[in-house]
């Protein structure tokens, strides 16, 4: 039997847990941010030690490597400028055609760079935290991506930090389209479980889809959170589910989440 002290301790802990778990959504989010705010000194320590390491690494890079890197970047920059010119012309053409057809204008993407500062310590969620918050104009549901493709969306916003829920997390479903066949579907967490970090499932709406492995999958307009055309990944294999009534494809993500250090937040 539990003695009096143990019972009191157990009762207090139980009451605390029940109260905290039953807090309203907004209050729970504030409480969560307040507790995670206690880690601010460690955030500062970690970022300054990272900066020191980077500065030390910069000091030992040979000049010849830097010159070679600068040359390579300049050449790459020239190529990108040429492609930008071509893209601007295509955008102007696109805008003219949209005006002719009276379609809604597409606004150019506004992005802000953010650094990944923490990953979810629990093994059953796929989230991470970035060093941008409401002070930088971040709001919930903003898309997060890299130059390789979609990463996820903002789920919780603090003053200086935000939580990003990644593709493959059970709490994130993304409307997707297979580029070649234009088949629509939804990206969900893979049934294999948490070990396959870079695989997700694509549930296709079409019953007899003609998609094949290596087909490119991008975001679709469905859902209203993500703009269309952001690369998600490519099809690895297909299987029929629900007694052949639906088709599921496994998709290898374009972005390797384990190597993610910097991301872009897409502003509307």
């Amino acid at each position: 039997m539990l003695n009096r002290t143990h019972l009191i301790a157990l009762g207090l802990v139980l009451v605390l847990v029940v109260v905290v778990l039953n807090l309203p959504g907004q209050t729970m989010a504030r409480f969560n941010l307040a507790i995670s705010g206690l880690f601010l000194p460690l955030f500062g320590l970690a970022s300054s030690s990272q900066q020191l390491t980077e500065d030390a690494a910069d000091l030992v890079v040979p000049r010849s490597d830097l010159v070679r890197e600068t040359d390579r970047l300049q050449r790459e920059n020239q190529m990108i400028r040429l492609r930008l010119l071509q893209a601007e012309e295509a955008m102007r053409e696109n805008e003219r055609l949209r005006n002719h057809l009276e379609w809604q204008r597409q606004s150019p993407w506004r992005v802000k760079l953010a650094r990944v500062i923490l990953r979810d310590p629990a093994n059953w969620w796929r989230t991470l935290q970035i060093n941008r918050g409401s002070l930088d104009g971040v709001t919930p549901n903003m898309p997060v991506l890299t130059d390789k493709g979609l990463v996820g969306r903002i789920s919780l916003v603090g003053h200086t930090r935000s939580q990003v829920v990644l593709l493959g997390d059970p709490n994130l479903r993304v409307g997707a389209v297979v580029q070649r066949t234009r088949d629509n579907g939804v990206i969900t967490a893979t049934g294999i479980g948490p070990l396959e970090n870079n695989l997700v499932d694509l549930l296709l709406f079409a019953r007899n889809s003609q998609i094949v492995p290596d087909d490119i999958v991008t975001t679709s307009r469905e859902g209203g959170i993500f703009p269309a055309g952001i690369p998600i990944g490519h099809v690895v294999d297909l299987r029929h589910a629900d007694y052949g009534l639906t088709t599921e494809a496994r998709v290898q993500l374009s972005v390797d989440f384990s190597k993610l250090e910097e991301v872009f937040i897409l502003f509307p």
Partner: protein, 183 residues
């Protein structure tokens, strides 16, 4: 000393939770992050009182959940219940033995995520669970179990550094002293 050592345990939990979220080495290598909180709970329940144990479970759990997508508070109860179960049977446990520390640490590290997942499912959440979760559970259990004796060694050293040392008894007894010469 009791308060100082309890504060050191809490500080360790605070830093451990941060490092679990910050460092991805083990996670990238083995596919699962090892949690140090159950090992600390084992140490606290075998060497400290219920107050320290409750504080560790509450603060450690809240810190962990604040950096995770877990609903805040969901990790607290499993940690406390595991600690309380060990606390109540600690007179039967060979706490000085490394293998006992490993086995209890492994059991605690295996039970804590199960308890949290059970609570999450009861709350209607949909955590990412699949066949791969078994491997993660194994890594967490064995990894946490292996860390448990390390926790004991480190805290025993801290304890020795801060606590009053017991006076060493000498073999000298005045009543058996050989007196030379005539008295």
């Amino acid at each position: 000393m009791n308060i100082v050592s309890s504060i050191i345990i809490l500080l360790t939990a605070y830093v451990a939770v941060f490092l679990e979220a910050r460092l991805g080495g083990v996670r990238d290598w083995l596919g699962a992050q090892i949690d140090l909180l159950p090992a600390l709970v084992v140490y606290a329940s075998l060497t400290k009182g219920v107050a320290t144990l409750a504080l560790l479970a509450v603060l450690g759990g809240l810190w962990f959940d604040s950096l995770s997508a877990n609903p805040t508070g969901v990790t607290v109860l499993p940690l406390f219940l595991i600690g309380l179960a060990i606390f109540r049977t600690r007179h039967l446990i060979l706490r000085e033995q490394t293998y006992a520390q490993f086995i209890i640490g492994m059991s605690a590290c295996a039970a804590a995520p199960l308890g949290t997942l059970l609570l999450l499912l009861l709350l209607g959440e949909t955590p990412l669970i699949g066949p791969g979760s078994l491997w993660q559970w194994l890594v967490m259990s064995v990894g946490g179990g292996a860390l448990c004796p390390v926790v004991f060694r480190v805290f025993d050293r801290v304890h020795r550094a801060f606590d009053y040392q017991p006076l060493a008894e000498t073999t000298f007894r005045p009543d058996r002293e050989i007196k030379r010469g005539r008295s």
